[in-house]
């Protein structure tokens, strides 16, 4: 039995198709990343799997259970951090853990859990006085109280500073190392790439690409290409004298030649040399997950426009 099996899942809010017939499975012990811009349907999907929302169509099995009908039973076996995790303000992380242990009727060592989520210094601070990252870590700690094998983390690092994000990543990696199955939603590409074994890219309620990041790049990316700095006439010359496809980017002055075989590069360079024209820098490039993501995700993103490319390369189409 796979921990998660989703088949043709559908969910509408009025006329909006929030989730539009998606299917995927998650294997035991893997980190599965649901990636997509705001409003793509990630949270709706994850909340349906958690048993927090009812689906309109399709089939969902989580640990073999229907999450909506058997929610109460399921919740004892899974760990969840909802998006924007909050807790009672005047409660310390340690008290929160003991509270959850009482609710779940389990014995746990709060200090060990706090250590596991790198929060063992802030055990006596009230929740309201914790930093954003520490609050999320408290959420992580609570999701571990019932010692679940399956964890749902809905945007665990959204809005956190880079250091806090990396600290959360570290915790997620250590959980994976312990063999836990983790479903992660994020709109940060680097996060999905860093943490996930498999990624599904969602847009407008559909899965537009799925697989390992390498598989997605290979399938949806343009493959390797040669870029030569030069003029339009050089581009024309290469096109006339080889059997290669040649594209010219005017504003940047870059000639792009997709490489079906590596040897194609040699032919292109030979033609360039033969032309007697001037040419500058040459390089070969391959699409990154960023490029693929921007290609696949059609609309401008949510209110803050965080398509998750943090290094300024972000483009809108």
């Amino acid at each position: 039995m796979l921990p998660i099996e989703v088949t043709q899942l559908k969910k509408n809010y009025g006329s909006l198709k929030a989730v539009d017939g998606i299917s995927f499975t998650v294997k035991e012990g893997e980190v599965f990343g649901l990636l997509g811009p705001n409003g793509a349907g990630k949270t709706t999907t994850i909340e349906i799997m958690e048993g927090l929302r009812e689906r309109d169509g399709g089939d969902v099995k989580v640990l073999g259970l229907d999450p909506w009908k058997k929610g109460y039973e399921l919740h004892k076996k899974i760990g969840v951090i909802p998006q924007e995790f909050t807790f009672m303000e005047k409660t310390t992380p340690r008290e929160a853990i003991l509270y959850y242990a009482d609710l779940f009727n389990v014995k746990c060592d709060p200090d060990q859990i706090l250590k596991d989520v790198l929060l063992d210094e802030k055990t006596k601070t009230y929740f309201e006085d914790l930093s954003g990252g520490q609050k999320r870590k408290t959420g992580l700690a609570l999701s571990l109280v019932n010692n679940p094998d399956l964890l749902f983390l809905d945007e665990p690092t959204t809005g956190l500073d880079p250091n806090a994000r990396r600290a959360i990543w570290e915790v997620i990696r250590s959980l994976k190392a312990k063999g836990k199955t983790i479903i992660l939603t994020t709109h940060y590409l680097d996060e999905a790439q860093q943490l996930s074994d498999h990624v599904a890219i969602m847009d407008h309620g559909r899965i537009v690409a799925m697989g390992t990041t390498e598989e997605i790049i290979q399938k949806h990316g343009s493959g390797e290409r040669l870029e030569i700095q030069g003029t339009q006439s050089l581009a024309d010359y290469i096109k006339e004298n080889t059997e290669l496809d040649v594209y010219y980017d005017h504003p940047r002055g870059i000639i792009t030649i997709p490489l079906k075989k590596k040897i194609d590069a040699l032919a292109a360079l030979a033609a360039a040399e033969q032309s007697g024209m001037e040419w500058g820098q040459i390089q070969t490039r391959q699409d990154s997950l960023d490029d693929v993501f921007i290609k696949l995700v059609s609309e401008p993103m949510g209110e803050q426009g965080e398509v998750a490319v943090e290094n300024g390369k972000r483009r809108r189409r």
Partner: protein, 368 residues
Amino acid sequence: MVSGRRIFADFKVFSRGFLRNKFGLFFGLIFPVVLILIFGAIFSGGSSGTTIVYAQNLDAGFGGQNLGNTFLSALNESSTLQVVTVDVSGDFAEYLADKSQSDGIVIPADFSQNYITAQPVNITVYGNPASSTSAIVSGTVNGFAGHFNLQRYNGTAIIGLESKSVNTQQNKYIDYLIPGLIGFSVLTSPMFSLVNISSDYKKNKLFKQLSLTPLTKMEWLTSKMLWYIVLTIAGFLLMYTVGTLAFDAHITLSPLLIPFLILGPMLFASLGMLVGTVAKNPETAGVIGNIITFPMMFLAGTFFPISQMPEYLQTFAHVLPLFYVTEGLNNVMVYNNIIGALIDIAVLTVITVVIFVLAVKMFKWRED
């Protein structure tokens, strides 16, 4: 299955959070005591029960006698009025207006002469018909005028007056006020808190999060009700102590009070929960909460007995749940009316069960 362990766990976390919040603690415990101190000081302290009346004596006297003075000192010696004499020069009506006073007496210049020569003479009484003190002033002046008239003809009074108190023990305003203010805190503390908490938890998705644990919504609400019962009983003991020690209130303690101190917080915690659940956001919840709470606070006999209200408002009071709390508390603590109190308990039980069931039914952990 309802689990005592989970209710207790939730109770522990919630009460600890409550006690750490000075603001909640103030409104839950200290504020009602402050109210008792304020209202007690206003209504039962210092005042001797006499009405102050300003008097201008224009009487010129006759045959060496100034009967105007005699009349005013007679009024002053009465137990109801305290006469303040005003200078004869100047406009009396203006003087009263300047002092923001409505009660005054003017003795005319020919008072002594006309009295002695048995000519009719009028004393002018100023007053505000809307004020209860004016009736006291004109009544007293009228009484003394009759007495003086009788004396003028050497008559004796035939009809006399003997005063008797209805109760063996006289009830003071504070005696009614304490049950009222206990009712007030039974209403406000759980109601406002639960409106606030439930709309806030909904907005912050804390309910959603709790729904991912084995805690059920009924357990959650039960633990809140338990806490507000504890808080209400603590508040009750505080208010009782302050009322009896500071103002010598005469109120009866009886085991019959316990049902009110349990049902009241249960009822208003559930009602608050219901409002917080039905409202779309915390702002609307606050408004609905106030619309329900404030009329109830004033019309259910909290600050004054409802028998002082017009008939249609008294009828209206009977649909307010708080009415049965304050009436019941008064029945036990002031009137010793056991049957009345038992009826109030029965009515309250029914209302509480209905509201509790409704709150649990309407309240959703999850969305659909």
